[in-house]
Subunit: 643 residues, 2 copies
């Protein structure tokens, strides 16, 4: 791996032109961000008021009233601002920029004279700042404001929010640290760590990097800070502490952690920050810690959809291979967190094992979080839903059988917004010797090799088609390497260069390297055949063993009741299924059709020595992320093959 | 069906001689009852003190101290006394009878002058008697004292406890009823209803029957009593009321109920009482209500082990076909309750559909509740256990991977004790025209036909052998019918009469009727072949579909880690398994051996397009009820067949 921090850099100037990701970004831009703007201002009918903007007004002394919402309600505003920043960067819009500027002004006015910024504590218990890091979210909210400030500065050049957060960080730096007069604490919910590294990227202020390091390294040290602060309050530590502090990854110092534990969003943000630090500080050991945690996460604790978090209790991980389909948590934010972590890993070590997982999460467990219209959201993304059970089974009460308009804890919708508005930044990275193409999407990127400007354009309908055409344009012939990811799901990738099959190119960590003197008009064609694959889980996955998931390219498919009737578990694939792929007239994407069977009981007995009979049925599978966009009903990913 | 209450009567004089049930009764007699005696007296080391006897002493004013335990701690004493009564009836023992007499004296002394008897309210809040029927258990405890009193009177002829409970019932009758000055209430936990019918059987006091009827019929009427009493207390109704009062079957009047809902032990006791009332009052409509509920319970909501209750939350039913294996509740008491209910149904309508279910429960989900030694107990009886998961998964925290010495809520051990010490009473019923043989066990029964005495002896090793020899002995030839149950699990029963194959006998509701003039020395031989069967669940059972359970005769088998290694879910039966049955040298019962496969992942990937490979392994299955009698570890009932 390359821990030289400048070896790989994000291509923020990428332009996403068309296709699924561009459509996702468009929906966010045109529907979701305006919808969330209304939500933040409590103007959505029939939806629980967010009060997020109102809280800031009260904190700024401009309105009277009580604080409402979660203690981290500020973060919804910050995440919206961050998403709006990406949106303004790609699609400038003076009206929305004005609104964002005004909102930033409000945030600035809500900041206290000493730099402190948190509307909950400012309104509700100003005397208790920084007394309950374990359960409350002051540093978490600060982190989101920092990310928003960096993004807004990069998008618009405006530094008002950047000044606000720098002042806030100065304040935080005066409170936390190893010096005896400071608190030796760290956030209960990680986020500020990665935000501080981003801030450092803009400010180059070592203080910002050092504070990130402090929070990451101090976590889990003994004596345990969350016990100390609880004792100081005369309180018991949060009940999560019974679980050995796993809940917030403070059970061990990070460098001793070998498995992904606890609340999965928190874990992802911590691991992403650790990767950032490994890169910035060229810390090989820390990178290795991250890589080990990555391996554990994606090889033992991840759903086939890229979702993570096996149970609602603690919103987190349970143990290796425990991946229940129906009681899954698989929070949208956690899959997004996994993507963010992958972005960091990929910039240190461009290995397709990261991009493969990011792609799995993106096209499945992330996109599932929002409706096609961008105004309904899943927080929890199980792999099997029986609507009646979600009302009957206590262990499924967190599962919503249909997307919701908003949430009391509304972390996921704005997280989706900031991911999708910035998704173009993940497609390529500029490497010292050229360019890595991580993802396939209709897009252009403009980069310099030495003094030469090169424009690379991808034309593709990926992920619905596996054909990708890459055109290169440049003023004069230029030497560089083009590193093209060969997706792990593809058994037989074909690559042509200017019409000629490429057979001798080196594949390095899953990337095909084309190193040559490139010319204006050079063309690379990729062809990833997209057969429908039956995917098998590791036999230790109790809830998926003996079942198969259908996957085409990176897209995992599912069965829905609207297509296949109820009792989806009784559907059985034949031993040698013949899959047909057809474009669905309503969903406008390829769906899978296959002749299968339905098990039917002969005599109505609950238990019988007679095997159920098989009635032939045609089964239709649609992309998982698209479920619940027509009628609410059952959904199933892991299908039974014939016995 | 025959609602003439005297048409079918229990044969209480049956003598159980040997075999699995006799062994169960012996363990209870020799180990469990003495062990529970110690438990009730807080003399078990390392086990949470019961305080049950101590509470009675405090209530009697003979000891000072605070009440400890559940509000229904009295019922543990009552159930122990009831079990001891059955034990003394079959195995008189002056020492234990003395102890029981003394305990009964203590109960009598704890009774209040007005007849009230409940140590919790007497000690803790005497002013609040009968103010919270929904959540507390005064009437439930009264019911158990009544059952104990009847059993003790029938076993020993001593009526001290009978007088106590009659006085208690007089008091209860003065408090509850339709008259305006009385409370129009009924118990939150049913039990007293069936107890009152038993009491009526001894006293023939119509008041006892009428009170049982009142409680059953008043349940679920509007306005809802549990809401009224909560309002009277200035309280909210218990949180269970949010679920529409299903939790305690008061969501509807019983006659309108069509599905088994709520807490499953409560449901069983209510339905058993309703069957009792149907019989005593010759109420065809009420019997039909019971029969419909039976059909729903056993065809839609029962585990293959006869366990019921699909979730820990509310310890109850969820919805049709929802039978998760690993998060199951399947409380030992609930399976026992199902057996009790079946007993009642069988005495109204001797249909093998009741006995088949009772047998399923008895040999599987009931016997599993205790260790071979009789001193360790399961409260919860899931069909799949992964010990590590019970510590990690919140929805499995109720599952104990190994039997426990005692419980804070110790309802199950004494329930097992009273069932097994009285199990001989269930084997036969005397019918107007002869005798019904419901169950197969080495036993003798003595009955009169007109003036003639007949002795029937069964010789069998059932359930390990399907051969049953029935010898009849009488002083002179006698006309009567012998009704022999043909178990539903047996496809090809063979019956011989005096060595001749019987081929023309009528089968009525699952019972073969042999009607003739019987002679001294007549012999009937039954032969139920016992192949190992693969049992399939109804395809609507999501958690069992595509799997098979192994069953031999009425005994359901399971896999244990101690025999088969961990990851039992990765074991696959071949398409045409060849089962061998061998006697296990340690467990002393037939176990099933079969060549099978273990799925193994080729590359360690969590998800792969390559099907896992199959490694041949020999698999051993043991009777489900015997699991966790060697080493703790994984256990699995529903096994995957080959795809």
């Amino acid at each position: 791996m390359a821990l030289n921090q400048r070896e790989f850099t994000t291509c923020k100037n990428t332009v996403l032109r068309a296709g699924l990701l561009a459509e996702g970004a468009r929906v966010v831009r045109e529907k979701m961000l305006p919808y969330q703007w209304e939500a933040l201002h409590d103007r959505l009918p029939g939806v629980e008021p967010s009060s997020a903007v109102r809280n800031l007004r009260i904190a700024a002394g401009e309105e009277r009233g009580e604080y409402h919402g979660m203690v981290f309600q500020d973060s919804d505003v910050a995440k919206w601002l961050e998403a709006m920043a990406y949106r303004l960067a790609t699609h400038p819009d003076p009206e929305w920029e004005k609104r964002a500027d005004d909102l930033i002004d409000l945030v600035a006015r809500a900041q206290q004279p000493d730099g402190y910024l948190n509307s909950y504590y400012t309104i509700v218990e100003p005397e208790n700042r920084w007394t309950n890091l374990a359960d409350n979210h002051e540093l978490y909210c600060a982190g989101h404001f920092i990310e928003a400030a960096v993004a807004y500065y990069e998008a618009t050049g405006k530094d008002r929010l950047l000044h606000v957060v720098c002042k806030l960080v100065d304040h935080i730096d005066s409170v936390f640290g190893s010096e005896p007069h400071k608190l030796q604490g760290y956030p209960g919910h990680e986020e500020i760590e990665l935000a501080l590294v981003r801030l450092y990227g803009v400010t180059q202020d070592q203080k910002h990097l050092r504070l990130a390091q402090y929070f990451v390294e101090q976590r889990g040290q003994k004596p345990h800070y969350f016990q100390l602060e609880a004792a100081k309050r005369g309180d018991e530590p949060s009940h999560w502490a019974q679980w050995g502090h796993r809940y917030n990854q403070s059970h061990l110092p990070l460098r001793q952690q070998k498995t992904a534990e606890g609340h999965s969003v928190r874990a992802m943000y911590l691991f992403a920050a650790a990767a950032d630090l490994a890169r910035e500080t060229e810390d090989h050991e820390l990178f290795q810690v991250c890589d080990n945690l990555w391996e554990n996460t994606v090889h033992c604790r991840m759903y086939v959809t890229g979702g993570i978090g096996s149970q609602e209790h603690g919103e987190g991980f349970t143990m290796d291979y425990d991946l229940p389909s129906d009681t899954a948590y698989a929070e949208t934010c956690a899959a997004i967190g996994l993507f963010f972590w992958g972005q960091r890993m990929l910039q240190i070590d461009p290995h397709s094992k990261y991009a493969d997982v990011m792609e799995r999460a993106l096209y499945n467990g992330i996109l599932s979080g929002m409706s096609l219209e961008g105004d309904r959201f899943f927080y929890v993304n199980p792999l099997e839903v029986t609507p009646a059970l979600t009302e009957t089974r206590w262990d499924q009460r967190h599962v919503k059988p249909t997307r919701q308009g908003w949430f009391t804890c509304a972390c996921c919708p704005p997280n989706l917004a900031r991911l999708l508005t910035s998704i173009h930044q993940s497609i390529y990275t500029r490497s010292k010797d050229g360019l890595h193409v991580h993802f396939f999407a209709e897009s252009d990127v403009d980069f310099a090799v030495g003094e030469h400007r090169v424009v690379l354009s991808q034309r593709t309908e990926y992920p619905w088609s596996g054909e990708v055409q890459i055109d290169l344009s440049m003023e004069q012939a230029t030497d560089f390497s083009l590193h093209l990811r060969l997706p792990a799901w593809c058994k037989d990738p074909k690559v042509k260069l200017n019409g000629e099959v490429v057979s001798d190119a080196k594949v390095n960590k899953g990337y095909l390297a084309l190193t040559r003197r490139w010319q204006e008009g050079d063309q690379v064609e990729l062809d990833f055949p997209l057969p429908v694959e039956r995917v098998y889980a590791h036999p230790k996955v109790r809830e998926a063993v003996g079942r198969v998931a259908l996957q085409r390219g990176p897209v995992v498919y599912c069965l829905e009741e609207v297509d296949n009737g109820p009792n989806l578990s009784a559907i059985v694939l034949p031993e040698r299924p013949i899959f047909r792929v057809a474009r669905d007239p309503k969903l406008h994407v390829p769906v899978i059709l296959v002749q299968a069977y339905r098990l039917e009981q002969r005599d109505g007995d609950l238990y019988s020595v007679q095997a159920p009979q098989k009635r032939p049925v045609e089964v239709k599978a649609i992309p998982y992320y698209l479920w619940d966009n027509r009628e609410s009903g059952e959904m199933l990913v892991w299908i039974r093959p014939q016995e």
